[in-house]
Symmetry: C2
């Protein structure tokens, strides 16, 4: 396996100021896998679906080239369901409901064909499930991990054990503040890097992302979009693209990490263009590559040989 | 004159979670002029001081090489005074008081020696005073202008008249939202560019800044600082460095504007390192140049010739 993903499959209810949708294909495993598959194959998913998970959603994942050998299907439970409402300022959202359903009893099983994966993505779910996945791996590859405020607050010990086992943590700025109690992002990052991961990516929504690795900092701006239709899955698709990009690299050093962050920002920017994962699933790799190149125009500037200084 | 600055001289009361100070030298004209003078000379200030303005503050400005021919000194009024308190999250501040004092009756007079300035900085003060300054200029040079929420709300017509006369507006993201009613920064920028300025810089504090010019977008990250002691004057020193940098350029095109934004971010990052303007006044041009170079490390990444794509 090139990229192994463990995460949630979800039926999402999403409401934005412009639109809403119900029971749309969602969950961290969905967005991560589809994004990773833009770069590499095979990409395999360890996840759980319930009796109400539409066959069409499953077929969509298969059509996107995702290996579902690690998918468990529960016949006596519904699928994990999440509902959220975004404000006029789409950076602000209310969680309307979180029904764990099948996820509450999920005991991940890593298929043999997923062993020796080059990159392992621990998508946002309980640190216990993340740990149970890691524990089944013969070799660990490069481990990239997401988490969220719920686990930071409610399962700090389990989260701490995971942090000690991963290569790279990817979280957003609010989560970084919450994890460390620091309001300054640089101090916050330094503290997190003492907890286990040697690499940290802090995602800042429209403000882009920061990479902390090898005592260096790299920044990527948010791709300028005149409409963000739905931020759902932006962080997950960033993680998937980051992982997929790293899986293409012969050596995962600082330069490879920088490229992975650029690709993460590029794919996330497609993800948010429509409600649900529909823009993400129809974006071709060439479009991702093209947009990644546009980041150079956003960030590069020439030296001058004609300036007259004081 | 290389750079003409009109703005406020102030006695600031500043309180942060770590420190406080009273009657410290402040005001937009102070920060803009000192920052511009890091790049070019002469830099001249049109401003007003009251009877309580300490001679030491005046001598500090003179020692930094600022031309004070345009300074008016009122013997029957106190100096403009501003008080602010920053929260633990230094991006949040409360204004404690604003005493206009001498500023209420300020009628700017541009000295003859300030005519034909290459760059004119309209620092944050009433649009009427900004207009009264512009109206005295024989030739206008490149006009860069700041404003704030107070003028956006209370003097929209006067502000609109100024916007029609300037080359470049520099405001922060909150002001851009307030000016346009748009939550999306790109849409907001597009609307502002229909109001007069052909160039727009939106400052985003720790998230850096964005330049909109020639239908292109350029971004600079915030310089990573593990402590922001006092954000007072960050926006003003950005404007001053931006203006000073442009004054060094034989041609003010897109590349020159990009460099000016990098220097703006560099100087602003020094400004916030201590309470008041004290770090700014002691920063040498070589340090600014050195930090500007560090922005390349923050934003540049290499292409790969070894990646294996799917």
């Amino acid at each position: 396996m090139s990229v192994l993903v463990v995460g949630t499959l979800a039926l999402d209810y999403i409401e934005t100021p412009w639109d809403k949708t119900d029971k749309v294909l969602g969950g961290s495993a969905t967005y991560i896998s589809v994004a990773a598959r833009l770069f590499t194959e095979p990409v395999g998913m360890v996840a759980v679906a319930g009796r109400d998970f539409p066959e069409a959603h499953k077929q969509l994942l298969i059509s996107k080239g995702i290996d579902l050998s690690g998918l468990q299907e529960f016949s006596d439970q519904d699928t994990f369901a999440w509902g959220g409402r975004y404000h006029d300022d789409v950076n602000v959202r209310d969680t309307l409901f979180t029904h764990l359903n099948a996820l509450a009893e999920f005991d991940p099983v890593v298929p043999d064909v997923y062993q020796n994966s080059k990159v392992v993505c621990l998508g946002n779910l309980s640190p216990d499930i993340q740990a149970a996945t890691l524990n089944q791996l013969n070799t660990r590859g490069f481990i990239a991990c997401d988490t969220m405020n719920y686990w930071i607050t409610n399962t700090p010990e389990a989260l701490r054990e995971i942090l000690a086992q991963i290569d790279c943590l990817l979280i957003n700025d609010e989560e970084a503040y919450q994890m460390t109690g620091e309001h300054n992002l640089i101090l916050s990052a330094r503290k997190i890097l003492t907890l286990g991961p040697r690499i940290l990516v802090i995602k800042k929504g429209e403000h882009g992302a920061m990479l902390f690795a090898d005592e260096q900092i790299f920044t990527v701006p948010g791709f300028p979009l005149d409409k963000v239709s739905d931020p759902t899955g932006a962080g997950d698709s960033f993680l998937g693209a980051f992982a997929g990009s790293l899986a293409c690299e012969p050596h995962i050093g600082l330069d490879a990490l920088k490229r992975a962050v650029i690709y993460g920002a590029s794919v996330a920017s497609f993800c948010v263009e429509t409600l649900g994962p529909f823009q993400l699933v129809k974006t071709p790799p060439a479009a991702v590559e093209e947009r990644a190149k546009l980041f150079r125009g956003l960030t590069e500037w020439p030296v001058s040989h004609e300036r007259q200084e004081a």
